[in-house]
């Protein structure tokens, strides 16, 4: 396939499998993502739908028994799948970085935070400690850490959650990677800090970094993303520009998600919910994985897995309702 140079990362047909004694599961099933340069792409979905697993697969951070079954992960045209660990080490941090949900545990408790940020520079660029220190302090300033020189010598427990997340972002961004994967970066933070962190991510994005933002919070996705993927049970169910997705959701699951968001203007006393819960990966339903919880389920939803249809340009949905070939209904 000819590489599209406008893409920072392109994931093609990625499947991740876990082999256990009970059987083989596929927490990520044939997922394709495109992250164009300079954009913020969102993945939204419930807990356990495979969002984080997809992110970790892109970073090459899966540990046995979890492994990539098939697919390609193209970073600027280079396939990362099957790359030896030493090559992956060179990619991680310098070309792709990741920040995590838990700023409380994401930093080494017995190491000064400055040294931890230093490490990224020193590993990738082999520069002397004093220069690395300068760069770290400059980066602390860039991510809005007050008194960067004093904070350099702080231990993680001396910082607040918001500051720790800023340190994590500094650590991820210090080598200017082309892509930042943010796995629920604000879930553990309170809303005012969340707003600050999201603003910071937007600034980083303006400075040229593409961002893959993973969240279960639709509000966060709506605020910062350009394009959104909706994931469910390891599959992409819907993908669209952010406005299209929020204005006219197509998939019954996406509609259910949007209806179950609380709103200040809401009048009904009871919040909508989606009946049922995420299926067990070992016992995925036949056909469409959402069919047991779907209110508009057709007869063939239970037998045939729907492909991705594109009812409007740039808006794809994995649902039989949008099959133009009505003869099959």
């Amino acid at each position: 396939m000819i590489h599209n140079s406008d893409m920072t990362l392109e994931v093609q047909g990625l499947s991740v499998s876990i082999h256990t004694r009970k059987g083989t599961t596929k927490p990520v099933n044939d997922v394709s993502l495109r992250i164009p340069k300079g954009k913020i792409i969102g993945i939204v979905g419930e807990s356990g739908c495979g969002k984080s697993m997809t992110a970790r697969a892109c970073m090459g951070l899966l540990k046995p028994p979890v492994k990539i079954e098939s697919g390609r992960i193209l970073l600027a045209g280079r396939d990362l799948v099957g790359l030896p660990e030493s090559d992956m080490c060179a990619v991680r941090g310098s070309e792709i970085s990741m920040i995590f949900q838990e700023p409380m545990t994401g930093l080494n408790p017995v190491m000064k935070v400055g040294r931890q940020v230093d490490e990224a520079v020193r590993v990738h660029r082999h520069i002397p400690a004093s220069k690395a220190r300068q760069e770290t302090i400059r980066m602390f300033e860039a991510v809005g850490i007050p008194e960067p020189e004093a904070r350099y010598n702080s231990y993680p427990h001396e910082l607040s959650g918001g500051l720790r997340q800023r340190v994590m972002i500094a650590m991820a961004m210090i080598c200017r990677p082309a892509l930042l994967i943010a796995d629920e970066p604000t879930t553990a933070l309170d809303v005012t800090v969340e707003a600050q962190i999201l603003r910071l991510m937007k600034e980083l994005n303006k400075a040229g970094t593409s961002i893959l933002l993973i969240s279960h919070n639709l509000g966060v996705i709506a605020q910062v993303c350009d394009y959104v993927y909706v994931m469910y049970a390891g599959q992409i169910l819907e993908e669209a520009e952010v406005c299209a997705l929020f204005d006219s959701p197509l998939h019954p699951y996406t509609r259910g998600l949007l209806e179950s968001v609380n709103s200040l203007r809401r009048e009904e006393p009871v919040l909508e919910t989606i009946a049922g819960s995420v299926p067990d990966f070992l016992h995925l339903p036949q056909g469409c994985s959402f069919s047991p919880r779907c209110g508009q389920c057709l007869e063939r939803c239970a037998s045939g897995e729907p492909p991705l249809f594109e009812p409007e340009p740039g808006h794809k949905v994995r649902c039989h309702l949008y099959d133009k070939d009505t003869s099959r209904i």
């Binding site: 951070l61 080490c89 941090g93 545990t105 408790p109 190491m111 590993v123």
Partner: protein
């Protein structure tokens, strides 16, 4: 750590400072033994055998008429060395193997842990006999035995710590910025094991002192007329009713040094743990 902080820590933990002083005192006493006593530790004086404490012999004399205080001072050399040196050796070996085992996993882990199982299941006295018969008795045999017996326990604990730390988010975060595995092991995981290792060390030293004494009792360790505290206790055992001071003094010495090491270990662990430091 700067000086003010150190002083503050010392003020807060007086027991640890006292313990360190006790240990220092014992070490100095062992080093300067010849200058502290007019007696020779090996010279017999049958006329004054088993005499109680008096002005000439502060702690009395043993069954050979030798001054007990003098023998304690010289015995401290062996006992302290037998406590510290083999424990350091087994810590070094155990930590290296435990770290490797926990980090490499798979076959390497399996092999190291099965060897450790064998070491733990093997009676240490039998191992000591094997070593003594192979390389000869005395200090070297005792030290080697103590080191070989204790590394397996250390390896186990360090491996468990490694596994715990390896699964933590900060290790994943370090990997996600491209830190290679060996650097993660040495810079992120090893420092996390240090508080545990200090505790292991302070438990290991007294247990090594005790093991040395039991080996010496069996004739596998220090050979008379040289002595160690353990050997002195055992030699005084027969006179417990008639001359209790023979065993009493070395017993108190062992108790003091064991307690001192334990308290010092607690103090050091508190001082090195940044979580506790903030309190």
């Amino acid at each position: 750590m700067n000086r003010d902080k150190l002083l503050q820590l010392m003020r807060e933990n007086k027991v640890a400072v006292l313990s360190a002083l006790v240990i220092l005192l014992f070490v100095l006493a062992a080093v300067f033994a010849p200058f502290l006593t007019p007696y020779d530790p090996k010279e017999m004086d049958i006329l004054h055998r088993l005499s109680g404490p008096d002005a000439a012999h502060l702690l009395g004399t043993d069954e050979g008429g030798r001054d007990i205080l003098t023998r304690m001072l010289y015995g401290a050399r062996v006992s302290l060395l037998a406590g510290v040196l083999p424990t350091l050796m087994s810590m070094l070996l155990g930590t290296a193997l435990g770290l490797l085992s926990g980090f490499a996993g798979g076959v390497v882990d399996e092999i190291i842990m099965r060897i450790a199982d064998v070491m733990l299941a093997f009676p240490s006295t039998l191992l000591a006999m094997l070593i003594v018969y192979t390389i000869g008795g005395g200090l070297t045999g005792v030290f080697l035995t103590l080191a070989l017996v204790n590394w397996a326990g250390v390896a186990r604990v360090v491996r468990a710590e490694t596994l715990r730390l390896r699964g933590s988010v900060f290790v994943t975060a370090a990997r996600s910025i491209g830190v290679p595995q060996t650097r993660i092991a040495l810079r992120h995981i090893l420092p996390g094991c240090i508080p545990t290792m200090i505790v292991l060390f302070t438990l290991g030293v007294p247990s090594a002192i005790l093991t040395e004494s039991s080996l010496s009792f069996l004739g596998l360790g220090i050979q008379p007329p040289a002595t160690s505290w353990g050997l002195m206790i055992n030699q005084g055992r027969q006179y417990l009713y008639t001359a209790p001071w023979c065993s009493f003094a070395p017993c108190v010495a062992i108790m003091l040094i064991v307690l001192a090491f334990n308290f010092l270990g607690d103090g050091l662990r508190d001082a090195l743990d940044p979580h506790l430091e903030s309190k």
